[in-house]
């Protein structure tokens, strides 16, 4: 599935709920599916700044050049939001990750979380994900040049 297709699946899933409470309950459930970061990476180095809750993010790239994320947070809503991002973005190339517009977050009714003034750190999470993607892309470009 492409990023866009995965986004559409999530939009559809969330559209079942009219009540915001059910939406949050589902978001919290999704948080439980989060690929959890290895305890050894739960350090300040992998801490995402800008969250009122603590959240950690780690990324690695496989041989085919796809990026995989793991994360965790001590707040369940934050965990749910990272889980959504990872669901959509993990397993894609750095280029695909950088090109994603992530408009699905707005469409599922979590728009208020997109505001940079919110203390949930969604904006910082997205930045951190893009930072990893950019770094991996740069690395692979350098490799190609050496060949």
């Amino acid at each position: 599935m492409t990023i866009k297709e995965k986004e559409n699946v999530i939009i559809e899933e969330f559209s079942i709920f009219d009540d915001w409470m059910d939406k949050y309950a589902y978001l919290i459930e999704l948080g439980k599916e989060l690929p959890v970061i290895d305890e050894k990476y739960k350090t300040t180095q992998y801490l995402i700044t800008g969250c009122q809750s603590r959240a950690w993010l780690f990324a690695e790239v496989d041989e085919s050049g796809k990026v995989f994320f793991t994360a965790d947070s001590d707040a369940v809503i934050t965990k749910g939001i990272i889980s959504l991002l990872i669901k959509v973005l993990s397993g894609n190339t750095p280029r695909e990750i950088l090109d994603a517009d992530l408009s699905f977050l707005e469409k599922i009714g979590l728009k208020e979380h997109l505001s940079p003034t919110r203390a949930n750190g969604l904006v910082s999470m997205v930045k951190q994900i893009q930072f990893y993607a950019r770094a991996f892309q740069l690395k692979s470009n350098v490799k190609k040049m050496k060949r």
Partner: protein
């Protein structure tokens, strides 16, 4: 005047709105209070009919503005029982008031001196003193609150001596709600010759304040936590100190005469009011304190105490809720944590239900950490809150806990 809560709520226009289709329940009053129509109207009237720069012009409007500005000072001085209106300096707020004193004290602090604060200070009554100590090679001594969130004056007795050059403490903790025994601590500080500054940001709207009775040397508060606008505050300072202290900022009304080789400064209170002052803010603050006085701060306190007792009892009934700060003398500020649930989750979900509370360290990081926490959920009540709102909050909190668990 009779404490008519229905009428009071009518007087605060913002309370009529809905958030996420739910009636607004505003429980973040320790951060800032809402403004009654009397204050809003006063500011608007000033800009419609009286706006002019003060103390300068000979023209009619300037005279009017100056007169109103000075009469606001006089009213506030009387309200806090200062000896003279010139002991009331208008500032931007508590933070600026404290920074003013911390800077003006520079020349009075030397290596080896001690400045004494408590562990429950807001960062604004901690960092200015800490930095002053760094600059002057002095030591910052911290008196720790006990588990209940109370300061034992005996703790001060042991610490205070001839090395103590200043004591700074909060009247009421913005995290715990504790009302500190400021009068007793002031007496102890004066016994060793140390002046006392009291951070009254959380006090002025909620309990009677009499600076003469406390006998403190400096008392500070902000307008915006007192039903007045943002950007206005007060520094009260005893004349004998304020005469001695050097100016803090230069220019404008604080000047007497200027030559290229020297400048002389204006007298009190103008010496500490550089630049064009916030006249509309000062008039708004006067209107706000008149508003408080109309209902009577003693009646407000009585009413808020009922809210405090009710909210505390209801919160304690909920499984896993732990209240932080259980001082015998406290105002309607309640910090709490819920076992295994992050404060941020609680704050986010309560917001969805139209309830405004605060989460985090409340600008008092060392205090919150002393309880082994990174933050708390805090509700802070004001004269316009109601028992019904507390019921809504409690029901909402129960829902949130059920959802997360």
């Amino acid at each position: 005047m009779l404490y008519n809560i229905k009428q009071i709520r009518e007087e605060f226009p913002i309370l009529k709105q809905t958030i996420n289709n739910k009636p607004l329940v505003y429980f973040d009053n320790a951060a800032t209070t809402q403004k009654p129509i009397q204050v809003i109207d006063r500011i608007s009237e000033y800009y419609k009919k009286e706006n002019s720069n003060v103390h300068r012009g000979v023209h009619h409007l300037s005279q009017v503005a100056t007169e109103k500005y000075e009469s606001a000072r006089k009213y506030i001085a009387e309200y806090i029982n200062a000896s003279d209106p010139k002991e009331v300096i208008f500032t931007r707020g508590t933070t600026e008031s404290i920074n003013l004193i911390a800077n003006a004290f520079e020349g009075f602090i030397n290596e080896g001196d001690e400045l004494v604060i408590t562990s429950m200070e807001h960062h604004s009554n901690l960092v200015p003193w800490q930095q002053l100590c760094f600059r002057r090679g002095a030591e910052l001594v911290v008196i720790k609150a006990n588990q209940k969130g109370e300061i034992d004056p005996d703790g001060f007795k042991k610490i205070l001596d001839e090395k103590t050059k200043l004591v700074a403490l909060t009247h009421i903790s913005n995290v715990l709600g504790t009302i500190n025994p400021v009068k007793e601590i002031t007496r102890l500080a004066h016994d060793v010759g140390a002046p006392v500054l009291i951070d009254g940001a959380q006090a002025i709207a909620h309990i009677p304040v009499d600076v003469k009775d406390i006998d403190c040397d400096f008392y500070t508060f902000s307008g915006h936590k007192t039903y007045a606008p943002m950007g206005i505050g007060v520094l009260y300072g005893k004349t004998q100190w304020m005469e001695k202290l050097p100016p803090y900022q230069f220019g404008g009304e604080m000047i007497d005469s200027v030559h290229f080789d020297n400048t002389t400064f204006n007298e009190l209170p103008y010496k500490f009011e550089a630049g064009t002052p916030n006249v509309a803010g000062a008039l708004g603050l006067e209107a706000a304190i008149r508003y408080i006085d109309r209902y009577g701060v003693v009646n407000i306190k009585k009413y808020e105490d009922e809210l405090l007792d009710y909210a505390t009892a209801e919160l304690e009934k909920i499984d896993g809720v732990q209240i932080i700060g259980k001082a015998d003398e406290k105002t309607a500020v309640i910090s709490f944590v819920v076992e295994d649930i992050h404060m941020y989750d609680i704050g986010t979900l309560l917001d969805q239900m139209g309830i405004a509370i605060r989460t985090g360290n409340h600008c008092a990081q060392p205090l919150v950490e002393s309880y082994g926490l990174t933050g708390t959920v805090r509700l802070s009540l004001a004269m316009y809150n109601t028992i019904e709102e507390i019921d809504i909050f409690i029901e909402a909190l129960k829902k949130v806990i059920a959802l997360i668990r």
